[in-house]
C-alpha cells in the first residue's frame, strides 16, 4: 500500500503535469520576456513542491499556483528592473485580475491555434515555429527559412497577425455552432 506521502507526491505530479503550460502562460503575461518567464516558472515550480503540503486537495490548484507565481514575479521585479519590457505594479495587477476571468477562452484559443498553424504555408510555419523553439531567436528563424533578419522580423509580425485573426475566427465559428 502506498503511504499517504506517496499519494501526495502522485497528486503533485498529476497537477503539475496538467497545469504547467497554463501556469507558464500566466507568468508570461506578467513577464513578457520569454526567458525571464521561464526562470520564474522554475522558481514557482520549486516553491509549489516545497509548499505542497499546504495545498488542500479539492481546492483550485491553478489559482493557488498562480498566486505563488504572482508573488514570485513581484519578488523578481527588482531583478528585471533593467529590462525594457517590465510593467509597473499597477499594470501587472490589472493584467493578473483580467487574466483570471479568461481561463476558459484561453484554453480554447490554445487548441484553435493548432488548427491555424496547419493552415499556414510551409515556409511561414517553419519560420514561426523555429522562432519559438527553446533557445532560438529571430536570427535562427531567418536562417532556417532563408530570409534576412530584417525580413524575418517583418514576416513574423505578419504571421502573428494572421494567426491571431485565424484563432479569433475559429472561436467565433465554434461558438456559432
Amino acid at each position: 500500500m502506498p503511504s499517504s506521502s506517496d499519494n501526495r507526491s502522485a497528486e503533485l505530479v498529476q497537477l503539475m503535469m496538467k497545469y504547467q503550460r497554463r501556469l507558464f502562460a500566466y507568468i508570461h503575461t506578467l513577464v513578457p520576456s520569454r526567458s525571464d518567464a521561464d526562470d520564474i516558472l522554475q522558481e514557482t515550480s520549486l516553491t509549489i513542491c516545497e509548499k505542497f503540503q499546504d495545498f488542500q486537495t479539492g481546492t483550485n490548484f491553478y489559482s493557488w499556483a498562480c498566486q505563488i507565481a504572482y508573488w514570485k514575479v513581484r519578488a523578481a521585479r527588482k531583478k528585471f528592473a533593467m529590462s525594457k519590457v517590465v510593467f509597473n505594479q499597477e499594470v501587472m495587477d490589472v493584467i493578473s485580475q483580467t487574466h483570471g476571468n479568461m481561463e476558459e477562452e484561453l484554453d480554447q484559443r490554445h487548441y484553435a491555434l493548432s488548427r491555424c498553424l496547419k493552415k499556414l504555408n510551409e515556409r511561414d510555419r517553419r519560420m514561426v515555429l523555429t522562432r519559438y523553439e527553446s533557445g532560438k531567436n529571430v536570427t535562427a528563424a531567418a536562417h532556417a527559412c532563408g530570409r534576412t533578419v530584417q525580413g524575418a522580423y517583418k514576416a513574423l509580425n505578419r504571421i502573428r497577425k494572421v494567426l491571431f485573426d485565424c484563432v479569433t475566427f475559429e472561436l467565433s465559428t465554434e461558438q456559432a455552432k
Binding site: P2, S3, S5, D6, S9, A10, V13, Q14, M16, M17, K18, Q20, R21, F24, A25, H28, T29, P32, S33, R34, Q42, E43, S45, L46, C49, K84, V85, N88, V91, V94, I95, T98, M102, E105, L106, D107, R109, H110, Y111, L113, S114, L117, K118, E122, R125, R126, V128, L129, T130, Y132, E133, S134, V138, A144, L156, N157, R160, K161, F164, V167
Partner: protein, 554 residues
C-alpha cells in the same frame, strides 16, 4: 475606454515589439497606458501573449517529434482519437480525457522541418574546443577496427594533433581545420602532417576540398598530390602503386620515377591516373565502382546508429518488465513540454514518476532518444523512492559536461536519516556512493573514472550495494572499477531524493546541480553480476565499441 481601429493596429505592433524585446521607452509607456486604462486592450494583450506561450509549446512539441498532443475538455468531434501508446497510457492516469491528433500532413513540407532536427550522430568541428596543436577532428566513424600495432585509438569527436591513424577495417571521417574533409577506408595507414596536409602510405582516401582549403596535399609513395579545389579519391596498394581519381575540379600530381625523372600531371574531373610502384604514370579509365563518399558514410553511420538504438529499445523493454527492476526512467518517448518523468517499472509505476523542475529536454544517445539536461541552479527531478533495499544496483547513462569542484550529483537523497544514500561523481572524477549509518556517513568511492577526455561523452555508470556479500562495487563503461567492504548493515534508501541535484538539506550545506545530461536511470533490487552490467553497456553504448574500449579504459 473603447479601442479605435487605429489603436488596435497600434497595439498589435506594440505587442509584437514586446515579444521581440525591441520596444522603445516611449512605446513601453504608451503600452502601459493603454493596458492600464482599457479592459479591451488587456483582453487583447492577454490573448496575444497566450498565443506566444502556445507557439512555444507547439514548437517544442514538434521539436520533440511528437505527433500527439494531450488535450482535455476540448470537444472537437471527428478529431478526437483514443490513445494506444503504452507510454501515453501511463500519462492517462493523470489526464482528464482525450488526446487530439495533432499532426501536419506527412506529405507537407513540415516533415522536412522535422527532418532538419533529425541529425545523425556526428560531432560538429566548430563546437569542439581546440588547442593550438589541433589540426583536425575525427567527426564520424563506422565499424572501425584499429590496427593491433597502434596504441592511438581516437574516439568520435576527438581533436587530433599530428598523428598517425592505422585502421584495419571500417571508415573514419576527418575534418581538417583548414577546411578539407577526408574519408579513410580501412585497411589504411594515414598520417596527419599539418592542418592541410597528410600522408597516405596504404589504403583508400576520398577528399573534398573547398576553395578555402585549396592546396590540400597528400603525400604518396612516389610523389605528392596537390589539390587545386576539388574532390578526388586515392587508393594506395600495398606494393606501392597508386590510383588517383578526380571527380571535380583539378589536382596536380608531382612525383619522381625510378629513372630520377620528374613526373608531373594535371588531372581534371572525370580523369584517372595510375602510378606504378616505380613511379611511372599512366592514364586509365575511371572505375565504374564509385569510391566511398560523404553521403555513403552518412548513410552507413545513420544506419548503424539506428541499429544500435533499436537494440537498446529491446533492452529497455526487458528492463521495464524485469521483476527486479524497482525504478526505471528510460527518458524516451516523452514530449519536450512534459514535466513528469515517467517511471516504466514496478506494479505501481506512477507513484515513482518524477517531477521535472527546470531541466530541459534534449537529445540523448541517439537521434530521437530523449534526455534531460541539468544546467541551472534549481534544475532537478524530484522523486520519492522510499523502499529500503539491502541489495541494489544503480545504473545510469550520464554525460557530464563539467566536473564541479566537489560534486556532480546523479541521485541524492535529501534526508540525513540512517540508510539515506547519495550517488554522485566527485570533483576528482570518482564515482561515490554515500550512505548514512546513524549519524555516520560512510563513503564508498571508486578510482578516478571521469577524466578530462571523458567529459562531454556518454558514460555508463553502475554501482552495486550488496549487504549479502558485504560489498560495494563500481563499474564504468561495463568494466569493474573498484570493490569495497560495506561498513555496518544498513539497507539503503533514496526517499525524498533528487535526480541531478544535491539538496542543501542533505549532507551538504548548499545546492549543487549536475552540469550535464542523463538519458537512462535504473534501480534494480538485486546486485547485478558483471556479465549483465557488461551487456547493458554494450547494448546501450552509442559509440563504436572498438573506440571506447581503447587501452585508456578505466
Amino acid at each position: 475606454m473603447k479601442l479605435s481601429d487605429n489603436e488596435i493596429i497600434e497595439l498589435h505592433d506594440l505587442f509584437d515589439g514586446l515579444v521581440e524585446n525591441n520596444l522603445s521607452i516611449k512605446e513601453k509607456e504608451r503600452l502601459q497606458y493603454l493596458l492600464e486604462n482599457s479592459e479591451e486592450a488587456r483582453h487583447f494583450y492577454i490573448r496575444f501573449i497566450e498565443m506566444s506561450a502556445s507557439l512555444k509549446y507547439y514548437a517544442d512539441e514538434l521539436l520533440a517529434g511528437d505527433e500527439e498532443h494531450q488535450v482535455s475538455k476540448f470537444p472537437i468531434a471527428g478529431k478526437v482519437v483514443g490513445f494506444a501508446s503504452p507510454i501515453l497510457a501511463a500519462a492517462a492516469i493523470f489526464a482528464v480525457g482525450f488526446y487530439i491528433f495533432f499532426s501536419f500532413d506527412s506529405e507537407t513540407p513540415l516533415a522536412d522541418y522535422t527532418a532538419l532536427s533529425d541529425n545523425e550522430i556526428v560531432f560538429e568541428p566548430e563546437k569542439v574546443i581546440t588547442t593550438d596543436d589541433t589540426v583536425a577532428v575525427l567527426t564520424k566513424s563506422v565499424g572501425v577496427e584499429w590496427s593491433k600495432d597502434t596504441g592511438f585509438r581516437p574516439q568520435l569527436g576527438t581533436t587530433l594533433e599530428l598523428s598517425r591513424l592505422q585502421i584495419t577495417k571500417g571508415l573514419v571521417q576527418l575534418e581538417f581545420l583548414q577546411g578539407s574533409t577526408v574519408i579513410l577506408e580501412g585497411p589504411v595507414d594515414f598520417q596527419i602532417l599539418n592542418s592541410n596536409e597528410g600522408k597516405l602510405s596504404t589504403g583508400k582516401l576520398r577528399a573534398t576540398v573547398p576553395q578555402v582549403a585549396r592546396g590540400f596535399t597528400v603525400n604518396l609513395p612516389k610523389g605528392r598530390l596537390i589539390d587545386l579545389g576539388t574532390e578526388f579519391g586515392l587508393n594506395v596498394h600495398l606494393g606501392g602503386s597508386t590510383e588517383i581519381f578526380v571527380y571535380k575540379g583539378n589536382v596536380l600530381y608531382r612525383g619522381q620515377n625510378d629513372s630520377d625523372e620528374e613526373v608531373t600531371r594535371e588531372i581534371s574531373g572525370g580523369e584517372a591516373l595510375f602510378v606504378d610502384p616505380l613511379g611511372y604514370a599512366n592514364w586509365v579509365e575511371m572505375p565504374s565502382e564509385p569510391f566511398l563518399g560523404t553521403a555513403d558514410l552518412a548513410y552507413r553511420s545513420k544506419e548503424e546508429s539506428q541499429v544500435r538504438h533499436a537494440a537498446w529499445l529491446e533492452l529497455s523493454k526487458e528492463l521495464s518488465q524485469n521483476a527486479n527492476t524497482s525504478l526505471y526512467y528510460s527518458f524516451d518517448n516523452q514530449s519536450s513540454w512534459t514535466r513528469v518523468l515517467q517511471n516504466q517499472a514496478g506494479p505501481q509505476k506512477s507513484h515513482l514518476n518524477g517531477a521535472i523542475i527546470g531541466c530541459k529536454w534534449s537529445e540523448g544517445r541517439w537521434p530521437g532518444k530523449g534526455a534531460l539536461s541539468f544546467e541551472r541552479q534549481n534544475d532537478r527531478v524530484r522523486l520519492n523512492f522510499h523502499e529500503k533495499l539491502p541489495t541494489v544496483t544503480l545504473c545510469s547513462w550520464i554525460k557530464i559536461d563539467k566536473l564541479q569542484d566537489n560534486i556532480s550529483p546523479i541521485l541524492c537523497s535529501n534526508n540525513a536519516t540512517s540508510g539515506s544514500a547519495s550517488w554522485y561523481v566527485n570533483g576528482k572524477g570518482q564515482v561515490v556512493l554515500e550512505v548514512f549509518r546513524g549519524s555516520i556517513k560512510d563513503t564508498y568511492q571508486s578510482a578516478v573514472a571521469f577524466r578530462k577526455e571523458r567529459l562531454g561523452k556518454w558514460m555508463h555508470v553502475v554501482t552495486t550495494y550488496d549487504l549479502g556479500s558485504k560489498r560495494v562495487s563500481h563499474f564504468v563503461n561495463g568494466r569493474p572499477f573498484s570493490h569495497e567492504q560495506i561498513k555496518g548493515s544498513t539497507p539503503i534508501s533514496f526517499a525524498n531524493s533528487q535526480l541531478g541535484h544535491f539538496g542543501k538539506n542533505s549532507s551538504l550545506s548548499k545546492d549543487i546541480v549536475l552540469h550535464g545530461s542523463v538519458d537512462e536511470f535504473v534501480v534494480l533490487n538485486t546486485a547485478s553480476p558483471e556479465s549483465d552490467i557488461r551487456r547493458m553497456y554494450e547494448i546501450g553504448c552509442p559509440y563504436e565499441m572498438a573506440n571506447s574500449l581503447g587501452p585508456k579504459l578505466p
